[in-house]
């Protein structure tokens, strides 16, 4: 199996599984507890049907959408995800360049393995920085200043990782950052020698936004769950978010909003967008899926801020359904991470291209030529 055989999400997943040491694959692939929410994130899309309109003349399709004041060529983007150089030695460089090629947003994680400065010098398309609110206030303000200096377009504060989720696959495989060789994981690292060679020869593994302040994650191996629980500030509240929003002074979003009340409060503190997200099912298992919750949230705040549906996206039709309900755009992590692991930048480009082609085809089949043609009349919820 190689990149040419990848026609969809599941194919990329398979190829990624072949290429990655199993602790790393399962870090991407796994979720919290029994992974109920993780599965629901995608299956929720199947409870609603698309109802197309015919004979509308659909030669030219415009997929562009505007979020956070930036016009993107696609109504979906690469959500910020941590530790990308563990998945492919080019990491964020590969994803960023692929996103630039398709003129869509690239989200950079606080736990990124390439610095905001380097990314800013590499790509000139819209960029989002994902912020973790650390106990160390010095770290927080230093990161904010660097992101400002690097002229990122959007700041997104993650609000659903106040403590680490119970990712049981990571407990079993012993996944940590940086990766640690244990007796049980030894075989899986040895059996993927290319990964090992690249990891050791293609530049030192770093967390450039954090390593001047904390040892964990770079020189001290830690699980991501542990990192959240010990490094992030559990007393973070709406005041802190409001202050960060005004300190940033630009487009600001809360990532991980699930309730209508919180969505309204996000408007009140000056946010210009929210990501309806449960962190890809990796935090609170049994929590509601973004798509199931989207309608209520759009009804409450959709005319005031940009609502992004994040999580579970595996198909163009999933994006179509979320946009029909009123999301301004969709985003996801796994939707490009498996492709990154499978083949670096070429993999991510192939994945983004497939989603774009699917969307374009699906728009034609729906009888729609532009994103604003999509509305709830296109949908029927099953009883």
């Amino acid at each position: 199996m190689n990149l040419k055989d990848c026609h969809n999400f599941y194919d990329f997943r398979k190829l990624a599984k072949k290429k990655l040491p199993s602790p790393i694959f399962h870090y991407i692939d796994g979720a919290a507890d029994d992974e109920i929410t993780y599965k629901r994130n995608s299956s929720a899309f199947n409870d609603v049907d698309l109802v197309p309109n015919v004979l509308r003349g659909v030669e030219n399709i415009d997929l562009s959408t505007t979020i956070f004041g930036k016009k993107l060529d696609l109504p979906f983007y690469c959500a910020p995800t941590a530790l990308q150089r563990l998945f492919h030695h080019d990491g964020e460089r590969a994803v960023g360049k692929a996103a630039q090629k398709f003129n869509t947003m690239f989200g950079v994680s606080a736990l990124a393995t390439v610095s905001v400065e380097e990314i800013a010098s590499l790509i000139d398309t819209p960029k989002m920085f994902q912020f973790y609110f650390h106990k160390d206030r010095g770290l927080n303000s230093a990161v904010l200043d660097r992101v400002k200096a690097a002229k990122f377009d959007v700041m997104a504060l993650t609000v659903d990782t106040i403590t680490g989720g119970n990712r049981e696959r990571d407990l079993r495989t012993g996944f940590t950052s940086p990766p640690k060789l244990t007796l049980s994981s030894l075989f899986s690292f040895v059996s993927k020698p290319m990964w090992g060679i690249n990891y050791l020869t293609k530049g030192k593994f770093e967390l450039p936004h954090l390593q001047d302040y904390v040892q964990e994650g770079t020189s001290t191996a830690t699980s991501i769950g542990n990192y959240f629980s010990s490094m992030l500030d559990q007393s973070m509240n709406w005041k802190d978010a409001e202050k960060l929003c005004s300190d940033w002074g630009g487009h600001f979003a809360l990532k991980g909003i699930m309730s209508v009340d919180d969505a309204k409060r996000a408007v009140d503190i000056g946010c210009t967008g929210i990501m309806v997200s449960n962190h890809g099912g990796r935090q609170l298992d049994g929590s509601r899926s973004p798509f199931d919750q989207l309608k209520e949230i759009v009804d409450a705040v959709g005319d005031k801020i940009d609502v992004i549906c994040e999580g579970g996206i595996q198909r163009g039709t999933h994006i179509l359904k979320a946009l029909s309900i009123g999301a301004k755009a969709c985003s996801g992590g796994r939707l490009y991470l498996y492709a990154l692991a499978a083949a670096g930048q070429a993999g991510v480009e192939r994945a983004l291209n497939q989603y774009r082609n699917e969307l374009e085809r699906d728009m034609k089949l729906m009888g729609c030529t532009k994103i604003s043609d999509l509305n709830r009349n296109n949908l029927k919820f099953r009883n």
């Binding site: 055989d5 026609h7 969809n8 899309f45 199947n46 049907d49 698309l50 109802v51 197309p52 309109n53 015919v54 004979l55 509308r56 003349g57 659909v58 030669e59 595996q314 198909r315 039709t317 999933h318 179509l320 359904k321 699917e358 085809r361 699906d362 034609k364 089949l365 729906m366 009888g367 009349n377 029927k380 099953r382 009883n383």
Partner: protein, 383 residues
């Protein structure tokens, strides 16, 4: 296993799988993307229950209905399907003769492997023609004129293939017309020498209705999907459909209508019928199932349109449920293609006999003497 062992859809499917090379079997069997809609088309029937009336002195029920201005002996007919000679060398001739024998409609695809004239020479049974509107209008005009000369009873314009669906099984098997032998699929051809023998000893594969107008799909090993994308007009609109209706000047359906709004428009432009269909789940995955949508459309159009439910039909009870929910008749493609692959004309006859017996038995069990007695009072939807 042979034809005598075929009692139901699954049996015909199994036998067809044994007889057909894998790429060809999967071309029939597959749907778009994740095949969610393909599966839903049939599963939708299970969310609604039949409620029989007893002691009705039913006797021998009358299964006849009138559709496309033609009285047929059972409320189920053969959907138009392309390239039937890939499934059995007799192709459309076998299906047309079988349909005639059971007094029901044979439908010819624009992409049939025998021509309008060839089939009308061997069968006097009721026939409709499925029209694709081509970019080159002279092809469309020519087809309509020839159907008039051949005394076809009705026509339908397919409106849900504005672009080819994403049929991933075909990507994997390398399905093209005529079949392209690659190393991977070669074995499945080698294992079915009889199919290969028939393919090479019978009439050369061609798109018989189009051979004088285009060399695509005949001389060139081109996939059906590419043909659709190149030859069908994505700018097709209501005016184009209206033009064909006027030119035909007889019973005309739009095939692939799913929304209430479009069903009403179909009346306005002079259609006598619509076929509620998502192209057997082969185009827009995640779109609504015909059975889920039929009631809403019937409620909206009253008796101004004949409604043919196309998609998911595998059992006599599926037909009964469709008629009770508001359909005038049903049609099916996959089921009869498997029977054609399994045993040519004899196979299709066996299937039609099975279905007639099932419909008849179930009518008796429901306490209905004729089709018009099947109304919404006979159904209870589960919530």
């Amino acid at each position: 296993m042979n034809l005598n062992d075929c009692y139901n859809f699954e049996d015909f499917r199994k036998l067809a799988k044994k007889k057909l090379p894998a790429p060809i079997f999967h071309y029939i069997d597959g749907g778009a993307d994740d095949e969610v809609t393909l599966n839903r088309n049939t599963n939708a029937f299970n969310e609604c229950d039949l409620v029989p009336n007893i002691l009705n002195s039913v006797g021998e029920p009358d299964l006849s209905i009138t559709v496309f201005g033609t009285k047929i002996n059972m409320p189920l007919f053969l959907s138009p399907t392309a390239m039937q000679s890939l499934y059995h060398p007799d192709g459309d001739k076998a299906s047309a003769r079988a349909a005639e024998k059971y007094g029901t409609i044979y439908s010819m695809s624009t992409m049939a492997s025998f021509s309008i004239e060839e089939v009308s020479n061997i069968s006097n049974g009721p026939k409709i023609f499925q029209l694709y509107i081509h970019k080159d209008q002279s092809i469309t005009d020519d087809l309509i004129d020839r159907c008039k000369d051949a005394n076809f009873n009705g026509m339908c314009i397919t409106v849900d293939t504005i672009v080819a669906g994403n049929r991933e099984r075909d990507h994997r098997t390398g399905f093209t017309t005529p079949p392209k032998f690659n190393l991977e699929s070669l074995m499945s051809f080698v294992m079915r020498p009889k199919w290969v023998f028939n393919y090479f000893t019978n009439k050369k594969f061609e798109l018989a209705n189009l051979k004088n107008k285009t060399d695509k799909g005949t001389n060139i090993a081109k996939s059906v999907m590419e043909y659709i994308n190149e030859q069908y007009d994505p700018a097709m609109n209501w005016k184009d459909a209206e033009y064909c209706i006027k030119k035909w000047n007889g019973p005309m359906a739009l095939k692939g209508v799913m929304s209430v709004e479009d069903a009403k428009k179909a009346i306005d432009i002079g259609c006598t019928s619509i076929m509620i269909s998502n192209h057997g789940g082969r185009q827009l995955d995640g779109s609504r199932a015909p059975f889920d949508q039929v009631k809403a459309i019937r409620d909206a159009v009253g008796d101004k349109l004949e409604i043919i439910l196309d998609g998911g039909i595998r059992r006599g009870t599926h037909v009964l449920k469709s008629l009770a929910a508001g359909a005038t008749a049903c049609s099916f493609g996959k089921a009869f293609l498997f029977s054609l692959g399994a045993g040519g004309q004899q196979g299709v006859e066996k299937l039609l006999k099975n279905m007639r017996e099932e419909i008849k038995r179930n009518m008796i069990l429901m306490g209905c003497k004729n089709i018009s007695e099947l109304d919404s009072s006979k159904l209870i939807y589960r919530k």
